[in-house]
């Protein structure tokens, strides 16, 4: 097609409005792209929320007389709420707490009980503080009359552990955005071809650019809505997602991911002759990718082979890109490789699908 890439801004606006209204009235699409992912988030978020161990696990570094006395005094009671491991390596023990393997490191320096814990899980952190302050109080009470009391010094370790919500939220969001982009583009393209709308628009003085831009704009807006809804729900105290400083960098990741998955959908739509076929092909691509690309199965806990496979999955870059800046506290720049890969994929696939593109159903 010839002509300027973008036609009248008015045409773009009315096309965008027509597509937006059409989308909002499509209950199935709304349910599919927003409600179901949110239900998954609520479901998985609630299931994995309660994984924080009923018992806290404490590493005793060196000899901690206070703790030993307390254990000796009430072994059954303390045994119910904590397990105690012994170590001489402070650095390794602190690392275990950072990673979330253990909950606290305890040392005794003279009359001061030094407790270091992670606040990754606030419930556990609360229990740690309560348990040790009660140990100190009891020791004080037992030593009543002596001049010096015992003291408790608590401090937090820098947290590197990921609570379930920190990978569930970006994972499910990545899946939602991938599905929204791919299915949206594929089904729209086939639908327009079937209803002959593309031919009708070809007869109107609008540029292909405006038509494509209007549809892409709709998907980008949808992706931002998905992001906003996910963040709003996951950061509720109940789910407890804590956003890192550079979380805003997730916005460009989401936009680029949308473009990448729309380009996958565009390719699917170009080779499909019916909406059913387009849906089936898009499903075959997206669903396995959700498992292999770290959306449904967190890569941190995945077997090595799955981690290797995930590098071939575009979804991996969307999910890890968001995770790095939203949940892992890495800097804004950490998302740049993911953005680059997603944009590159979008460019390549768009070129391929332009070649496979057909205006007509036959």
């Amino acid at each position: 097609m010839t002509g300027p890439l973008l036609g009248r801004p008015l045409a773009l606006r009315s096309l965008s409005r027509a597509m937006f209204v059409g989308f909002v009235r499509d209950r199935a699409a709304l349910v599919f792209s927003i409600l179901i992912p949110v239900l998954f988030l609520v479901l998985f978020g609630s299931i994995y929320k309660s994984t924080s161990a009923a018992k806290i696990s404490v590493i005793e570094v060196g000899r901690v007389a206070l703790l030993d006395q307390a254990q000796a005094a009430a072994p059954a009671q303390l045994g119910r709420i904590m397990t105690v491991a012994h170590s001489t390596d402070l650095a390794a023990s602190l690392d275990a707490v950072r990673k979330g393997t253990d909950d606290a490191v305890v040392q005794q320096r003279g009359r001061t009980l030094v407790v270091r814990y992670s606040i990754a899980d606030q419930t556990t952190a609360g229990i740690v503080q309560a348990v040790f302050s009660s140990i100190v109080q009891q020791a004080d009470a037992a030593a009543a009359g002596r001049t010096d009391g015992y003291q408790l010094a608590t401090s937090q370790v820098e947290d590197k552990s990921l609570q379930p919500i920190q990978y569930i939220a970006p994972g499910l969001l990545g899946w939602a955005i991938a599905s929204g982009g791919a299915f949206g583009a594929a089904i729209t393209l086939v639908g327009w071809r079937q209803t002959k709308l593309l031919r009708r628009l070809r007869l109107a003085p609008v540029s292909v650019g405006s038509v494509v831009l209007a549809r892409v704009g709709l998907s980008l807006v949808l992706a931002l809505v998905q992001l906003a809804v996910f963040l709003a729900i996951a950061t509720l105290p109940y789910f407890g997602l804590r956003l890192s400083a550079d979380w805003w960098m997730a916005i460009p990741v989401v936009l680029c991911g949308t473009l990448a998955f729309m380009s996958i959908g565009l390719l699917v739509g170009s080779v499909s002759t019916s909406q059913q076929a387009a849906t089936a092909i898009a499903n075959v691509i997206i669903l396995p990718m959700a498992f292999l690309g770290g959306a449904f199965v967190p890569l941190d806990f995945a077997p090595a082979w799955l981690r290797d496979v995930s590098y071939a999955m575009p979804l991996r870059y969307l999910v890890t890109g968001m995770q790095n800046v939203m949940a892992r506290g890495e800097g804004a720049a950490s998302a740049l490789p993911a953005i680059g890969i997603l944009l590159g994929l979008a460019a390549v696939l768009t070129l391929v699908s332009v070649r496979a593109f057909r205006w007509d159903a036959v």
């Binding site: 097609m1 010839t2 002509g3 009248r8 008015l10 045409a11 606006r13 009315s14 096309l15 409005r17 027509a18 597509m19 209204v21 059409g22 009235r25 499509d26 639908g191 209803t195 002959k196 709308l197 031919r199 009708r200 628009l201 070809r202 007869l203 109107a204 003085p205 609008v206």
Partner: protein, 303 residues
């Protein structure tokens, strides 16, 4: 327009094949500015293909083509605002109401919403303005599609079987609308299966079959040119078929409802029928485009 443009459309030797199927096999015709031009033919004759090539939706394999002095292929943005097209299959935005559809199309041409609403009124869809396009009846959808084709006041209007899904009343209303559009000075090109439609509306018709134009001319002239008998029919039971064989009579047929006499000399036959007082249910039918088609192809015309 300052340039002199004698013709709205000029087509020479147009060809289009789909693999082995020759859809259009060398078609030539001109449409004058302000003319009402019809393309008539049975299913698969190549009407839609011809029209789509002229509209610029398809590339021809061969042939010369000029529309309002411009080349429609490749897509010509200069031509698009000047033509209005109603496609054979209605095409709308999903889940938009009738009013939203036509307003959207209007704004693509820079036409205000007020004008879009007027057009909706013109095709009698104001009451269905809030109904989604996919819920409209076949005839309503067709009227909406026509309204969308006309909303930007095009100079040249293409309609592919515009009355296909319409009931007789709506069909007549649309005829009035099309006549009105044409009377306003717009050139109209339509395809149809219906002989009567072509006869009533068109200044000239091209009769197509198997991808070729068999005959082209004013309906009356086409009918006059063929050597076809007049058909006189009366109610059955007034006369036996044998008694109806007046001098100069060709075929006589009695189907139990009416007795039909074919003749090239109607006057003595009518006089004879009057003499026998056998005039109940009398109808006299001259040749129609259907006869022209029969004459040209040797086949009955069945749309």
């Amino acid at each position: 327009m300052v340039t002199t443009m004698p013709t709205a459309i000029s087509v020479r030797g147009l060809r289009k094949s789909y693999g082995p199927v020759v859809a259009v096999g060398g078609v030539s015709f001109d449409v004058e500015l302000g003319e009402f031009f019809g393309i008539l033919g049975p299913n698969g004759a190549g009407k839609t293909t011809t029209l789509e090539i002229v509209e610029g939706l398809r590339a021809a394999d061969d042939g010369e083509l000029s529309v309002l002095g411009l080349a429609p292929w490749p897509r010509n943005p200069e031509l698009l605002p000047r033509i209005g097209v109603q496609l054979q299959a209605s095409s709308f935005f999903e889940r938009l109401t009738a009013r939203e559809q036509i307003r959207t199309f209007a704004s693509l041409y820079g036409v205000p919403a007020r004008r879009a609403d007027q057009m909706l009124e013109t095709v009698g869809l104001t009451d269905s303005g809030a109904v989604r396009a996919e819920k409209l009846s076949g005839g309503q959808a067709q009227r909406l599609s026509i309204a969308c084709a006309l909303v930007h006041d095009p100079e040249l209007v293409f309609m592919d079987e515009p009355t296909g899904a319409l009931d007789p009343q709506a069909r007549r209303n649309l005829w009035d609308l099309l006549r009105q559009i044409n009377a306003d000075g717009r050139t109209v090109v339509l395809t149809t299966h219906h002989m009567d439609e072509a006869e009533t509306l068109c200044d000239r018709v091209a009769i197509m079959d198997h991808g070729e134009i068999l005959k082209l001319g004013a309906p009356a002239a086409l009918v006059r040119d063929i050597d076809s008998p007049v058909r006189i029919s009366i109610e059955s039971g007034q006369l036996t078929a044998a008694d109806a064989r007046f001098p100069g009579v060709g075929d006589v047929a009695d189907d139990g409802v009416s007795l039909t006499i074919a003749t090239r000399e109607p006057a003595p036959v009518l006089a004879g029928l009057a003499g026998r007082r056998a005039l109940a249910g009398l109808r006299v039918q001259g040749a129609t485009l259907e006869d022209v088609f029969l004459d040209l192809t040797g086949r009955e015309y069945r749309a």
